[in-house]
Symmetry: C2
Subunit: 598 residues, 2 copies
Amino acid sequence: MPTYNPPLRDMQFVLHEVLKVSDDFKQIPKHADIDADTINAVLEEGGKFAAEVAFPLNISGDAEGCKIDQTTHAVTTPKGFKEAYKQYIEGGWAALGCAPEFGGQGLPYVVNGSFYEMLNSANQAWTMYPGLTHGAYAALEAHGTPEQQATYLPKMTTGEWTGSMCLTEPHCGTDLGLMRTKAEPQADGTYRITGNKIFISAGEHDMTDNIIHLVLARLPDAPPGIKGVSLFIVPKVLVNKDGSLGERNGIYCGGLEHKMGIHGNATCQMVLDNAVGTMVGQPNKGMQGMFVMMNAARLGVGNQSLGLTEVAYQNALAYAKDRIQMRSLTGPKAKDKPADPIIVHPDVRKMLLTAKAYAEGGRALQAYCSMLLEKEHNHPDEKVRNDSGEMLAMLTPIAKAFLTDNGHIATNACMQVFGGHGFIKEWGMEQFVRDNRINMIYEGTNTIQSLDLLGRKILGNNGATLKKFGKLVGALVAEEGVNEKMAEFINPIAVLGEQMTKFTTEIGFKGFQNPDEVGAAAVDYLRVAGHLVFGYFFARMAQVALRQIAAGNTDPFYVAKLQTARFYFAKLFPETATLMRTARAGSKVLMDTDAVFA
Amino acid sequence: MPTYNPPLRDMQFVLHEVLKVSDDFKQIPKHADIDADTINAVLEEGGKFAAEVAFPLNISGDAEGCKIDQTTHAVTTPKGFKEAYKQYIEGGWAALGCAPEFGGQGLPYVVNGSFYEMLNSANQAWTMYPGLTHGAYAALEAHGTPEQQATYLPKMTTGEWTGSMCLTEPHCGTDLGLMRTKAEPQADGTYRITGNKIFISAGEHDMTDNIIHLVLARLPDAPPGIKGVSLFIVPKVLVNKDGSLGERNGIYCGGLEHKMGIHGNATCQMVLDNAVGTMVGQPNKGMQGMFVMMNAARLGVGNQSLGLTEVAYQNALAYAKDRIQMRSLTGPKAKDKPADPIIVHPDVRKMLLTAKAYAEGGRALQAYCSMLLEKEHNHPDEKVRNDSGEMLAMLTPIAKAFLTDNGHIATNACMQVFGGHGFIKEWGMEQFVRDNRINMIYEGTNTIQSLDLLGRKILGNNGATLKKFGKLVGALVAEEGVNEKMAEFINPIAVLGEQMTKFTTEIGFKGFQNPDEVGAAAVDYLRVAGHLVFGYFFARMAQVALRQIAAGNTDPFYVAKLQTARFYFAKLFPETATLMRTARAGSKVLMDTDAVFA
């Protein structure tokens, strides 16, 4: 059976030593009093919840899955899930990042994000029940009326009610403009909504009395396409004026999907049959609220794969130290044993280090994104708010696609460390692979993320945001350019930064003549951008580690950090060599293929 | 539900137009009469069996899995599996490649191999029941006594009995030298064998009256390690002198593994309790017979992933043509529809072409290996036999590891084409991913394959075999070097061939000083070698296609072949740029990591 230890030391390193989040919080009035000790204490307790409550239900939840009663449409979650959720709300965990005005604890996003990394390590399927609530909460916080907020947000803050996102329909996922669900306005200002939604995570369950569905639908007179989509609140149970629960609403689960992974989470076909809803935001502007949810969800999905990468690494490391098989190529190491532990083999170390490096780079990026979100929402300076929002918009598709693809690589590598045992369910490794697999797909496939990055976030403003990130890289290069010890970490990103600038101009020019050039290059481009970002953070982490060592700090943590950074630049970062080449290879070899696909 | 169409046209192209197998058969007395029509007719019928009998049981077999009766130790295979096997033996399919002296049809290996590609596409889990028999058959054919052969091979030829390979034990998979199963010699020349084996595919089932287990065990006086391992025949039911079935032997299934995939195949924990066995080959030389099985199995595993790559491609292509979602970036293509089929998007084509190119390259390599096996065994010229065996020994780890890793990439890409539907079981795509995942592990993990390739097959003879393959490349380069139309297919392999020669010398030198350098480079090296081999076959395939087109042949098959080859060289082959770099990055960044793994 797998184990899990919350990576508190590495989280503290990223938050306090690399990003120095307290310096940022001092600039943000609502968080001015938050210090490192508070953050660490919360994460320590959060880690206990993850490891002791959520984690023990991971394998059993996968084996059992969810069940539906086709008569009552009630969904039963795996044994223990409901009780764990009760502990979650009793512990106040649902309220961690929510606003004090709705009863929340008002802690920074980065604290909730780090807590969620641990929950995702422990049990992604379970975590999606409370996790989906955050997106719905964010959409209502941003676009709900005061009355809607007063009605729903306090109960979502306590966790008494969960939320869901009802977007996808059988014939449309990526292309929400094709949506058919209809919303008919009523005399009382409400709407009656009818249609079918699919792939609704946590759309129905037995953990709470109510579920607040955020539903995309079309008004009768809506223009065609994505500009005719509106957003509605459709509670599972209608809420009376006094806040008490009223009638059961006409939205129910018509069936559960049988899936590759996240078996413990109910993936629901949702039927809306004349369901009562109220509009969020303006008519036909539903995508605004949807994107608030979606952007939160995309960072959240990256965080899911970060969590799986970490837990897969921990278990592969333990196995590699324990399992003895063959001798080291350089002669016996464990002479008292009939064979050496497999960690003596270079390729086993490579698989382990791949996961470790992707976890550490991902953790830095996730925390950085959470701090940008914080500044975008809560910094007193408008320019900082705007700049932070702009940078976050560019980094979000990278955090989603790069971290989930890396999670795929990492969980598969860690499973491979186990040899044949990796394929066997009881070891838990193959579940990490299966659970991670959906992360590359949902909330916009990774291809969609790459088009969002290259087409919209980079070429859409002629590379202006990329240049701003390039300035961060440039500043680090300028600061450390003469430090010989930093050369191995600095030179690669300096070179790649220049190559990317040139290539971005090139692809912008080609894309102007033929938009398929953008589509052909985007996936490769995103991974190159991901490595530039990871390279930047590994260089910053190495900088901190080198300074600590120079100052006489003997904590082996810093030596380990340098070793991981060296591995990253030597064995993972060079992927960019091929990616730049294949991105440049253009669209012709893809599109001139009519004979192949005839 | 997925569909499957046997790729007969592409098989015919590889066999008759590229490899011109009939020319080889004319040199081999036992196959001198075999012509293309015979081969094609067999494969056409074999394709029908695969598509119509085995394929319809693939998803249901996965959902149902195998069951064990803990009292009787009987294993029940999924509904329909037993009946399909009955059809298989009634159709004479088990006898296809077996020797006429034992009742076989004596067809060339390449015919059986192509038939098995189709079976693997159709249902890998089912195919492993008859498939394991071939390895056991080959070991007995090579190392069994005439009496053993007469007792077992005829029934294995008809398929009335199946075979298994009992190697792995709980504490040893890769490192069979640690094996503990004991064989006590008896006065009558038999042995009594006691021990525990795990991960025994098709170790028990309900399809046949008997199962012929080939078991590795140690004699009481055996030297330690791999040089003290002997091979035994341990039939499930003892066979009387007259060939009739006698007593039940002391070998039974103690439990079934719960696994990520190939649910329809029984992965058995086998208990040997004083079981009666007879020795195959010489005492303490069991690895000789084991390697006959193992080499056959390794080619077979590559063939499994080839099959999964093909079927995943076919279904992703059908979906990409059918599913409409978004408009082409270059403007609407299906103007009569509300959106374009997703095959208009460059990255969707990239995912499809990745699978198609890996299927076509893999098919050529598999067929080439089968022909080498044929010549090794049956060519009248000893030098041809030796050269063929040597080349096959080098190509076998590539066929195993490169094709299964490519299968991982391809099945995941094809699943990704389906978006969210790819994660749902009913579409069948996620099963291809899960089933393929074991192929990267069993019969020697892909890391083990890479060490076998680089350490033993290449550096072990100072690159002599690699040079022989280099001569094939060189001959093609010389032949087509002045043909402008071939330049795009020839130049990349000419360049890579030179780089590899240089790098091989380099790594040999470094490895001499520090063997971990070989371990650190091997996995990357194997993929580079795989691309050299695939590049060579794509160049040969392009050569044939260009000549047909030049001769006025208007079959779009040849245009498609060129388009796929172009894609391969533009988008997949350049992976070698990174792989050469990371292989060169050496072992230090992997091994100087004690602080990381403390």
